[in-house]
Amino acid sequence: MSPILAGVLQVSALVAALALVHRPFGDYMATVYTSPRHLRAERWIHRAIGSDPDAEQRWPAYLRAVLAFSAVSTLFLYLLLRLQDRLPLSLGFRAIDPDQAFNTAASFVTNTNWQSYAGESAMGHLAQTGGLAVQNFVSAAVGMSVAVALVRGFARSRTGTLGNFWTDLVRGVVRILLPVSVVAAVVLVAAGAVQNFAAPQEVTTLSGAVQHLPGGAVASQEAIKNLGTNGGGFFNANAAHPFENPNALSNLWEVFLLLVIPFSLPRTFGRMVGSVRQGYAVVAAMAAIWLCAVVAVTALEYAHPGAAAQAAGGAMEGKEARFGEGASSLFAVSTTMTSTGAVDSAHSSYSALGGGVLMLGMMLGEVAPGGTGSGLYGMLVIAVIAVFVAGLMVGRTPEYLGKRIGAAEMKLAAAYILVTPALVLCFTAAAVALPTPPDSTLNPGPHGFSEILYAYTSGANNNGSAFAGLNADTQWFNTTIGLAMLLGRFLPMVFVLALAGSLAGQKPVPDTAGTLHTHKPLFSGLLVGAVLVVAGLTFFPALALGPLAEGLS
């Protein structure tokens, strides 16, 4: 079988699996977030928290709970890393430096998982499983909670309330992320991923050399890292490391895991607003953009432009033999477009234009299909903008799902989409204008600029992958990328929850002959257009200086 045919079959198998699973899984998630009943374990947890799981919150209260939980998480993780040398199970690793501990804490709490450290030579078992992996769960559950709160804003009328954050958080972890992760982790172990709490094992090889084989709770972390679209690798090489991703089957399984929640949540959304077709219009736009990017990057990697790749006879630099160009490209597109940031190959070594598409995938705002929860709320904000644009064209007051999109709603949507471009472009400009930050780049010329642009794009959009030639473990990059991650995560959440509160308080507008049909393919097309125009064009000048200049020269 030719590699290209195998690549096509691989994508087809993935799409078929997602098509099969999204329905029961999306419906299940809708039940989770609407059921009035609490499991006994959840009641225990709520008693420990001291919260009433049935108390409805208005948007400011919901937001305060999100921010309080995230602030406490950041501080807790920061202390865990700073005190690593004095806590048990450290494997003898030293305390993490203040700037790197801030960066890492911000990174994992914001669901970004940008890593300026190498896991196997910096983090002990306690930091990995008790700190970082915990945030993999809860940051994903926070994202889903905010998405569900926005959906409730559309679904509810004449009430200011959006549900209860603590209930949504606990249910997301207990009923969705935890059970799926257990199954996912066992499958990964069956494929060959390691799962133990052992210290590195010293062996003497057949050629007489000494090798230290690392251990760790890798499979359990790998499962939630993908399912929660977190992406932080147990090891420096992330999912390229054979202990994290042992073969091509585990590779496809990991891609499936990182796509399954983002591609199923639109079904959940459709269920909760009472029309699954509304969900399908959203998922169609997500899938169209994702598939175009898969085709583009895969084709570019098979063609392997670039002098070094041409000389090698294939784009295998930074790629594993067991994956090859096809499986690596599929993983790369899926990880950048879901805000995951796990990598099974070195994105920096992709062809200039292929790497540019990966960067563009993040710049579109992580909406195709985007991260757990954040993808759905990002796309719904784009939908608000799309109906506004459509309303302007025909001279009607825009409406979406029976809610009027007035000046207040548009201001919040506009503020939402301005946050990440402002962060990415300002920080990148500052980094290239200052004297020392450019010293961190590995490659010369436009690719060096791309390394910096990629870093802030990845941080502000909460992706976490890297053009890893950049030495990001400097005070400048640790601090500024840390700020980009925090602002890029929580400012949009403020606007989303305010929007949700404003929508939930409205009374529904009745459908008329002039109402825009937002459950039809035309609207999916409008969504794709809005994503490309709003987010894509903002970054065109920056892309022209990096990947376009490199690819066309």
């Binding site: 066992v186 390691v194 490391h241 070094a308 033999a321 200039a352």
Partner: protein
Amino acid sequence: MNAAALRSTSRLTGAALRALLVLTAVTGVLYPLAVTGIARAALPGNAGGSTVEVDGRTVGSALIGQAWNGPDGRPDPRWFQPRPSAGGYDAPASGASNLAATSPELLRLVEERRAQVAAFNGVRPAAVPADAVTASGSGLDPHISPEYARLQADRVARARGLDPAAVRALVREHTRGRPGGFLGEPVVNVLELNAALHEAAP
């Protein structure tokens, strides 16, 4: 901040801290221990790192690539050689070169490796496949392409005084097709192949 706001903030912070601690116990302690328990009971070999034993001695992991050098630190012709590695197959230092496809340095490295691999194996430079001249993503790639393995068979046979046909048969035996017929790429596991070679002719 007035007293009421302060009270409500501290109440909220307390709730957030308790929520984090409870969820840490569930997802940071119970979950990894449960998975470890299942993994060790059902799949002890995989959970422990897929180690390979030769003559009753652990000689590495089937999943972690190794350097196959002689005492002089240069590639040993008696062993099948792995792909280039950005970290020199140092297991606690995984990672890629991150050099761009347009990088002049990578171009130089590729040309150097092509010449070296061709001379080492006594083949034409054009016959050297891409995976033999490029460093992997992990720096610990345990595999090489079947083309690269076949290209090395005659040289290994020469260095060990073996029948080339027997070494080629060993390579065929250790060539793994795509899982499921269409996932990833066909590969040869270097440690498993070398271990079989060692057992055939120590």
